[in-house]
């Protein structure tokens, strides 16, 4: 069912739920792995999120872009259970779910890689990968089992620059640390991996490593939701874009529908003249 939504409407749709979604989201939330409908979040008088709709399909890389303060991190935290939305629904595989704590989110199969990576510099790669869910053998840690599994996971993700999984994480480069953080998410057999600004602090070759990793994840059927400032990275790796502006998702869709100009316009003004008249297909 092809529906042409209103690409330039404001964040709050005037119609009921059955009408075309203002931001370009699929009217039926059952098709995608993760769908948000009408997610709002306020902190007292501050409205951080306004009626956000978002679709994150499996096997694709969805980039969440927007200026500083647009609400990207807040939206992510609602998905990963750090915040509870003030209103709205979250659909996982078509069924409505309630995510109140990070544990609920992890139980669904959502893994979040935060901007600060949440790694322990004084522990090695194996210890970080298994932090919180170590394997034991007769009440003592089964180091060999964990080490073998870590090596396999890194090899599967084609992370070849790491010399030894017994290196301390504090001695790895930024790209390698990202790789370890992502590999930890993958090892938990997550279906959705959320990454908050994964390439923000990285150099060119490290960025390449991480973008390849993101691509590998999507090719394995995992849904990847990436927050990024960097349009170059976004256009090189994303399959879909969702643009946030002042707490709302103002536009989303396949990447082919966007270019740098329209993306920048959407980020900075919430509207884009260059795609005002284009007909968008909301779903893939």
């Amino acid at each position: 069912m092809e529906i042409t939504p209103e690409p330039n409407s404001s964040a709050t749709p005037s119609d009921g739920r059955d009408a075309p979604r203002g931001s370009g989201a699929d009217p039926s939330p059952t098709q995608h792995l993760l769908s948000l409908r009408g997610i709002s979040k306020n902190f007292g008088p501050v409205q951080a999120l306004q009626d956000c709709d978002l679709d994150v399909p499996a096997g694709q890389v969805t980039a969440l872009i927007g200026d500083n303060g647009a609400g990207k991190s807040t939206l992510i935290k609602c998905i990963s259970g750090i915040y509870a939305p003030s209103s709205g629904q979250i659909y996982w595989n078509g069924k409505e779910v309630h995510v109140h704590t990070p544990r609920d989110s992890a139980d669904l199969g959502i893994a979040t890689v935060y901007q600060d990576l949440a790694l322990c510099d004084n522990l090695d790669i194996v210890e970080n990968m298994y932090l919180g869910r170590e394997e034991s053998r007769y009440a003592l840690l089964d180091e060999i089992k964990m080490e073998l599994a870590t090596k396999k996971t890194l090899a599967d993700l084609s992370v070849t620059t790491v010399q030894s999984v017994r290196q301390l994480v504090g001695s790895l480069s930024g790209g390698q640390r990202q790789a370890v953080a992502v590999a930890r998410a993958v090892m938990r057999e997550s279906q959705l991996v959320i990454m908050d600004e994964p390439t923000a602090a990285l150099g060119v070759s490290q960025t390449k490593l991480v973008l390849e990793l993101i691509r590998t994840l999507a090719d394995r059927g995992i849904a990847v939701l990436v927050i990024s400032h960097n349009l170059m990275d976004v256009f090189s790796v994303a399959d879909r874009i969702a643009v946030m502006y002042l707490g709302a998702i103002v536009h989303q869709g396949p990447i082919a529908n966007y270019d740098t100009t329209s993306a920048v316009e959407l980020i900075t003004t919430g509207e884009s003249k260059s795609i005002a008249s284009s007909r968008l297909s909301a779903s893939l």
Partner: protein, 405 residues
């Protein structure tokens, strides 16, 4: 052929990286050897059996209290009250066993340990629930428990000193294993570690993981055996002038048991892993699902228990308990011992063995300086310089390695 060479060099690089972290203990051991050499040159009595036995026994208290502190240092916390906590443990045991109460020694000992463990848990509870810095809470403990200690010792009406007469507690430090038992004990310990090293190497090799080369393991076993032999010879040499005293003091196996238990927990269990993680990045541990407060409380409690054992050793060596115990200094020297051994004050780095090396150094300084006739004031200054030197050397040694913490 080329592949073999390449594989060998890659393996060597990997092994070197894996063991770069261990380089930390070597400079300190060299420092200890240098100290020993210096004192021996100045006074050849230093390396005599009687003085060395004395030295080992003097170091036991510092080693134990330092191991207690390491539980907290790993978290990035500290417990300044452990010195007086150990004193309370000592006084409880001595008072219950030798004054008007005359309780059986093992009940007195168990009660003393229970009390110090509870005090540790209380410190932990205050730090966690009230969210106060551990420095402040335990500083208050240092002052408060000193008051408690003076009160309970003075209340016995024996002039501020309660002498210890109970044979069992007294023998912890002053009684010995027989020479034969000493041999058996040391051989058993060396054998146990050698076998477990070889077995773990074999398991790694059969799983296809990079393993320590066989010659390194053999070298470690040889060094361990050598150290064991030296220890047996020191203890089994007659060290008394008028009678015959031979054998390892009971305090040594007690310290080794605490060392083994502490190391086992830290290296081989989830709880130990979590303690390192919390010390390294407590927020990361929290997000990974670790119950941070549970393990912090556990560390404070274990520190209290270890301080209790230290207190028993203390009153055994002193032959009683005095209200003038300089526990404020003792706890600081124990923290210094841990840091000299290689434990970081900021959390996330340290091992129980650091307490042993550091404790030996802290005890060697007054022992050696006493032999060459230096005053107490010089001893304090010397200890300060050694602490600074050890930390500087340690930090420089680590700067060049891939181990950045």
């Amino acid at each position: 052929m080329e592949e073999v060479v390449e594989a060998a060099s890659r393996l060597r690089l990997q092994v070197k990286r894996i063991y770069q972290g261990d380089a930390g203990l070597v400079p300190i051991l060299i420092g200890l050897a240098a100290l020993v050499a210096y004192f021996q040159i100045r006074n050849s009595v230093f390396l005599s059996a009687s003085n060395l036995t004395n030295l080992f026994v003097q170091s036991c208290y510092f080693i134990l209290l330092s191991m207690g502190e390491i539980w907290l240092l790993l978290l990035g916390e500290i417990d300044l009250s452990l010195g007086f906590v150990s004193g309370i443990g000592a006084s409880t045991a001595v008072i219950l066993v030798d004054t008007k109460y005359h309780w059986p020694w093992f009940i007195a000992v168990l009660l003393a340990l229970a009390i110090t463990t509870a005090i540790g848990a209380l410190s932990g509870f205050l730090v966690i629930r009230l969210r106060l810095p551990s420095f402040i809470v335990t500083l208050a403990g240092l002052l408060g428990y000193q008051g408690v200690l003076i009160y309970i010792v003075d209340k016995q009406g024996t002039g501020g000193v309660v002498p210890l007469q109970n044979k069992y507690i007294y023998d912890m430090v002053n009684g010995n294993l027989t020479p034969l038992a000493t041999w058996i004990f040391v051989i058993a310990v060396v054998a146990f570690f050698s076998v477990s090293m070889l077995r773990s190497d074999r398991r790694r090799r059969t799983s296809g993981l990079v393993t320590r080369p066989a010659w390194v393991t053999i070298a470690k076993i040889v060094m361990l055996a050598g150290a064991g032999l030296a220890v047996v010879l020191i203890f089994n040499t007659d060290r008394a002038t008028f009678t015959v005293i031979k054998g390892m003091p009971f305090a040594i196996p007690i310290v080794m048991a605490v060392l083994a238990a502490g190391s086992l927990i830290l290296i081989k269990t989830k709880a130990g892993r979590y303690i390192y993680a919390i010390g390294g990045n407590s927020e990361a541990a929290r997000r990974a699902g670790v119950n941070v407060n549970r393990y912090r409380l556990m560390a404070f409690t274990l520190a209290g228990l270890t301080a209790g054992i230290a207190g028993l050793i203390y009153c055994s060596r002193l032959g009683g308990i005095s209200d003038g115990i300089d526990a404020g200094n003792l706890v600081l020297e124990s923290v210094a011992a841990a840091v000299i051994g290689g434990t970081s004050l900021f959390g996330g780095r340290g091992k129980m063995i650091h307490a042993v090396v550091g404790g030996l150094i802290i005890a060697t300084i007054p022992n050696g300086m006493g032999l060459i006739g230096m005053s107490a004031s010089t001893q304090y200054i010397a200890t300060a310089l050694v602490l600074l030197a050890a930390v500087t050397i340690d930090s420089v040694a680590r700067r060049g390695s891939t181990v950045t913490v």
